[in-house]
């Protein structure tokens, strides 16, 4: 019998029952709740007279709506009344049911996908869900993690299970050494460019190969975070020593007497050598350069030394139409050099790139330099209060502020502009976030997805530049 993939193992370990109609019930170990996709779930629970199945499986924190400017006044000082009600509703629901919540003024508050692993809430071998598509992030630790809709949030609250259908297995194998200045973000953008934004639909997407193993766990989180941008709900990386080391001493990690048993269990969380994948895509790490998206879908991506595509060279009429439409929205010309794109704003943050490693990478580029006078605003938004504290302990905040960047409070911020941080109509932004959809960062806003180092370099020069040409002043 062929071996099992990591996904097969996780699926089998969580299977509660298989129904006659082909659907399955899988058990959910962890649910993370935030203010945007949970209010209707709690309301549904109440209206049906149901109670949460297991309180200790849940953790909540507000992130999408929270302001990133001075916030000492707490929830009551959120200016937008609709946002304020949503954050208050999360607080009230968690208080009512006794769910642990890191509220807005708690130092542990932050973006759900940064907070979960940081607290050891996400653990290898667990199933993790959240009403947010970037829940794929947690797969970086060998957890089966994916985004769900609000009806499913309610379903998990009420039953601790999901009705699911097993996905297919896809392996993205990145072999070789990544070049200097080429980061996890560039790897995943390159992968999306190769397989397309629907290339992973219906698959659990495991990332393997020597280039992935060489990445830190934070880099692996960036990669799994964007599995969904290639259509895969689930991203995965096998457990190794770095994974295990990461969880030592985290607040919700196994206690001392459970640690050895947990580690023994976690070490099995790898795909077997003879595991069968439904599809394998091989990528040569040496081919990957720093990436920049030019269009309105994450698959519209090229290397920084490339040019904006020309619809005349498209493979068919549909692609030509898509390119033409994207160029028009983005205000770009066919064949324009990527390095000629000028930036109005820069955003360093989001669940993709707001961890300490990202802060350090950006700080190393801007240290001793100044943001270009043509850039209206460059924001740095740490992913959690604890990331913020760590960065400040390392003096990174001072480096950013001296260079002319703004150092903010944690939250989702300009990634999706539900709070006051947003792009103006027609503005170009170098952004470390995950989606360059039309209007995503603000009405008429033009997003270019890049790594933290590339965003920082663009802030200094005012246009895209190959970060490999930058001498680091660290």
């Amino acid at each position: 019998m062929a071996g099992k993939t990591l996904y097969d193992k996780l699926w089998d370990a969580h299977l509660v029952r298989q129904n006659e109609d082909g659907s399955s019930l899988i058990y959910i170990d962890r649910q993370i709740l935030h203010e945007v996709t949970s209010p209707q779930a709690f309301e549904g629970l109440r209206m049906a007279g149901r109670k949460p199945w297991r309180i200790d499986a849940n953790l909540a924190t507000p992130d999408h709506n929270v302001p990133t400017t001075e916030r000492a006044g707490g929830v009551d000082q959120i200016v937008d009344p609709v946002s304020r009600i949503q954050v208050k509703t999360l607080d009230e629901n968690c208080d009512e049911y006794g769910i642990v919540e890191f509220k807005m003024l708690d130092e542990r508050q932050g973006i759900v996908h940064v907070v979960g692993p940081e607290q050891g809430m996400t653990l290898p071998g667990s199933t993790v869900v959240c009403g947010d598509s970037h829940t794929s992030t947690h797969g970086a630790f060998g957890a089966l993690a994916h985004g769900i809709g609000t009806s499913e949030v309610e379903h998990v609250l009420a039953t601790q299970c999901l009705i699911a259908k097993k996905m297919k297995n896809l392996l993205i194998k990145v072999e070789g050494d990544l070049g200097v200045g080429v980061t996890a973000k560039d790897v995943v953008l390159h992968v999306i460019g190769v397989i397309g934004t629907a290339g992973g639909t219906g698959f659990a997407m495991e990332f393997g190969g020597s280039a992935i193993r060489s990445l830190s766990v934070e880099g692996r989180m960036t990669i799994c975070n964007m599995a969904i941008e290639a259509g895969a709900r689930v991203g995965l990386v096998a457990v190794d020593d770095k994974t295990i080391e990461y969880f030592k001493g985290r607040p919700f990690s196994p206690t001392a007497d459970q640690w050895e048993a947990a580690v023994a269990n976690w070490k099995n969380l790898v795909s077997d050598d003879d595991a069968q994948f439904d599809k394998v895509v091989e990528i040569n790490a040496a081919d990957i350069k720093p990436q920049v998206t030019w269009g309105t879908s994450p698959e519209m991506v090229v290397a920084v030394d490339g040019t904006v595509p020309n619809p005349a060279n498209a493979k068919d009429a549909d692609e030509a139409n898509s390119i033409t439409r994207a160029l028009e929205y983005m205000g770009l010309n066919a064949d324009q050099a990527i390095t000629d794109i000028k930036l109005d704003r820069v955003f360093i943050g989001s669940c993709t790139n707001s961890r300490i490693e990202d802060m350090r990478a950006a700080a190393a580029v801007v240290k001793g330099r100044k943001v270009a006078s043509t850039v209206k605003q460059a924001l740095v938004v740490p992913g959690s209060g604890l990331v913020k504290a760590q960065a400040e302990a390392e003096g990174l905040d001072k480096i950013f502020v001296e260079a002319g960047l703004e150092w903010r409070e944690p939250g989702c911020s300009m990634c999706l502009a539900m709070n006051p941080d947003k792009l103006g109509n027609g503005e170009h932004c170098a952004s470390t976030s995950n989606r360059n959809f039309e209007g995503r960062q603000g009405f008429g806003g033009r997003t270019h997805l890049v790594s933290p180092a590339m965003a920082a370099a663009a802030a200094i020069t005012g246009h895209f530049v190959d970060v490999r040409d930058f001498e680091l002043n660290s």
Partner: protein, 215 residues
């Protein structure tokens, strides 16, 4: 949940690939704590020429006359015809809520993003998968006869055009059963509460560190 058995309605053609959930319902409208009222803001940035705000009366806003839903022949449409990878992007269930609130009962496309696809079934909205060729044929039929209707028959898994042509589609048995009968799947899952408790007891023994830690 609302039942879905058969439905006949006007087809609106939305001819673009990768229609994302930010396009279906932009983020500023996700601040609502309700499940209803999203219809006026469905496709807000395509449908109107200005930037929409939550709780705004949309009746006086400048509309984009080129957008399909603003054309008189597609007024009252209830079946959306779309291209590949419809509903990609975020997990927001506000996307099917907005389609439903506007009056759509079914979407026809060659492929969907997984989370959106799943969310539709929880809200009585039927996402139908036809082949790229069949979808192209329907786009051409609608172009030749704007305002035409289609009939969707879930029981027999068919889409029927006015000239009697039938297009078959696949749908999971469980999802079909829930839609045809308007069933609440939480209630169905709780019928297996004993299985869940048995699994949980085994899990607690095998991985005790996943219990009672978060408090």
């Amino acid at each position: 949940m609302k039942k879905f058995t058969t439905h006949t309605g006007v087809v609106a053609p939305l001819d673009r690939v990768n229609v994302d959930t930010d396009m279906i319902i932009p983020k500023q409208f996700l601040k609502s704590i309700k499940r209803s009222g999203f219809g006026p803001n469905l496709f807000d940035e395509l449908r109107y020429l200005d930037e929409g705000q939550p709780d705004q009366d949309c009746s006086g806003r400048p509309i984009n006359p080129d957008f399909v839903l603003n054309k008189p022949e597609y007024a009252g449409s209830s079946i959306l015809l779309a291209r590949n990878n419809f509903g990609c992007g975020s997990s927001r269930e506000h996307a099917p809520w907005a389609l439903d609130d506007y009056g759509f009962r079914a979407v026809i496309a060659p492929s969907y993003a997984d989370i959106f696809f799943n969310n539709c079934f929880k809200n009585g909205l039927l996402p139908i998968i036809l082949t790229e060729d069949e979808v192209e044929e329907l786009f051409q039929a609608v172009a030749a006869a704007p305002g035409m209707s289609l009939t969707v028959d879930l029981e027999n898994q068919k889409v029927v055009s006015p000239d009697g042509k039938e297009y078959s589609f696949e749908v999971d048995d469980f999802r079909k059963h829930c839609l045809l009968n308007g069933l609440d799947d939480i209630g169905l899952t709780l019928e297996h509460a004993d299985d869940i408790r048995a699994y949980e007891a085994k899990r607690r023994a095998e991985a005790p560190w996943l219990f009672d830690a978060i408090k």
